[in-house]
């Protein structure tokens, strides 16, 4: 059972609160550096694309937002599954806290996609498979948030949202492969894990920086949000009272 000790430790809100307090600077500082650095690098120093000119530069916001929106959904669904299987309360809190952040990132991806689409494709919006499936992702996030708000009982809300998040996860592979399955306006993936990427290294490096920065940013925001949630839920416990009164 010793191997499971760390797992149960993670389930303790108090322990999580203390650890995440120490963890946040390690997420926040690199996130700000990578995001700001990547934006400046991408917007000011990378050469213009020979086909799209300067308009391609929105990639440095659009791609990280879209990728992290999907990653956030999978994290939310995984946290939901952890909550359902091991009854871990903390996973339920993380799940609840990811939903609005993920919805905001999805909205940002849709918005920057529209802004990018106007100069490149000549239209704000097309019913392309990738765009439509990301719109569904946005609706799924909204559904989880609405379902959570509809319950009076917090535990039932968490379990119901976990089921919905897991069911909605079928959309994620559809989004991911939509550009390969339905080849229409949206370009297929330029960054490849296997084989050579079709994007020039000078453009790729700042993109990688903003991508990593955005993941760290997600971790930072979700941890902070979860800490607030922990304090709110545990407000009647000894340790929170001590914390507020400055005893510990």
């Amino acid at each position: 059972m010793a191997s499971w000790a760390w797992f149960h430790k993670w389930g303790s809100p108090r322990w999580f609160y203390q650890l995440s307090g120490r963890l946040i600077p390690w997420l926040a500082v690199p996130a700000v550096i990578l995001l700001c650095g990547g934006f400046v690098w991408g917007l000011a120093f990378v050469p213009a694309d020979f086909k799209q000119g300067n308009s391609f530069r929105i990639i440095y916001i659009h791609v990280p937002a879209a990728a992290v929106a999907m990653g956030a959904y999978m994290t939310m669904a995984t946290a939901g599954a952890v909550h359902l299987i091991w009854r871990m309360k903390l996973a339920a809190m993380v799940m609840k806290c990811i939903a609005p952040v993920g919805a905001a990132l999805t909205f940002l991806a849709l918005l920057t996609g529209a802004v990018w689409g106007k100069p490149t494709w000549g239209t704000w919006w097309v019913w392309d498979a990738r765009i439509t499936s990301v719109l569904i992702l946005f609706f799924l996030y909204l559904g989880v948030i609405a379902l959570h708000q509809a319950f009076d009982n917090r535990d039932a809300a968490a379990k119901a949202c976990a089921v919905l998040a897991i069911v909605g996860a079928v959309n994620i592979p559809i989004i991911y492969w939509s550009v390969e399955w339905w080849y229409s306006l949206h370009q297929p993936a330029s960054i490849k894990f296997v084989g050579e990427s079709t994007i020039h290294p000078s453009m790729l490096r700042p993109l990688m920086a903003t991508l990593a920065g955005m993941y760290l940013f997600l971790g930072w925001i979700v941890l902070s949000y979860t800490r607030a949630e922990i304090l709110e839920r545990e407000r009647n416990t000894r340790w929170v009272k001590d914390l507020v009164e400055g005893k510990s």
Partner: protein, 229 residues
């Protein structure tokens, strides 16, 4: 334990009970049909009676309205059983929930999806759809509405314990319905234009089978959550 019923026996009993109740009430199966008919006939009034325009729009119109009609009926799926506590008895019974859930969804489909599919050729004629699309439409609706029933049942089970579940139900169901709608209407469009429609129907059938296998797990879990609170 001499007369312990079989799984199939339980499923059959639930199916028979639900069908009898629905047939006696009448409104359960007739209201979605009337809704389907009325909303479809609103479109020519709204966009004009031009036959070519209607013919182009018909596959999408019929599919979207069928989806909404099916959604309308989904709210009742567990509501009655929840109110009179027979749902609780289902959960407490020693029999597994899986066959009971499948039987309930099947009864729901027989009362809504099947009549909708059978009525659709009439609406296709009213909306001036090219004749090539009519057969495809019926088949695509038969397959698709089955998947819709299973998907909708997940959301119905999640919201059954809530007082104001109706609007929330549509909010969480519609995103999950979208893939079925896309392939269903594209099959009909292909059929209406005389193009091959096999792949879309195959994908719809795959949706149905996946929903049949996986949705009852989610529905059972959701029902337990709704009863626990």
């Amino acid at each position: 334990m001499a007369n312990s019923p079989s799984l199939l026996g339980v499923a059959r009993a639930v199916l028979r009970r639900d069908l009898t109740a629905a047939l006696r009430r009448g409104s359960e199966w007739s209201n979605p049909l009337i809704f389907f008919l009325m909303v479809c006939s609103l479109f020519p009034l709204g966009i004009g009676p031009d036959p070519t325009l209607l013919g182009v729009l018909a596959p999408g119109i019929v599919w979207v309205v069928a989806l909404l009609a099916s959604l309308l009926a989904t709210d009742h799926l567990f509501r009655g059983d929840f109110d009179d506590a027979s749902l609780e008895q289902m959960l407490l019974s020693p029999m597994p929930l899986y066959p009971q859930v499948i039987a309930k969804v099947l009864a729901h489909w027989l009362m809504t999806g099947l009549p909708l599919s059978l009525l659709s050729p009439l609406l296709a004629l009213i909306l001036q759809m090219p004749s090539g699309g009519i057969g495809v439409m019926t088949v695509s609706l038969l397959l698709g509405s089955g998947a819709l029933s299973f998907i909708g049942a997940i959301a119905a089970a999640l919201t059954v314990g809530l007082r104001k579940g109706g609007l929330l139900l549509s909010l969480i169901t519609l995103p999950l319905y979208i893939p079925v709608l896309i392939f269903g209407s594209s099959a009909v469009q292909a059929g209406a234009q005389g193009l091959p429609f096999g792949p879309q129907l195959a994908i719809l059938a795959a949706f149905l089978l996946a929903a049949l296998a996986l949705a009852p797990i989610a529905i059972s879990a959701a029902l337990r959550i709704s009863m626990d609170q």
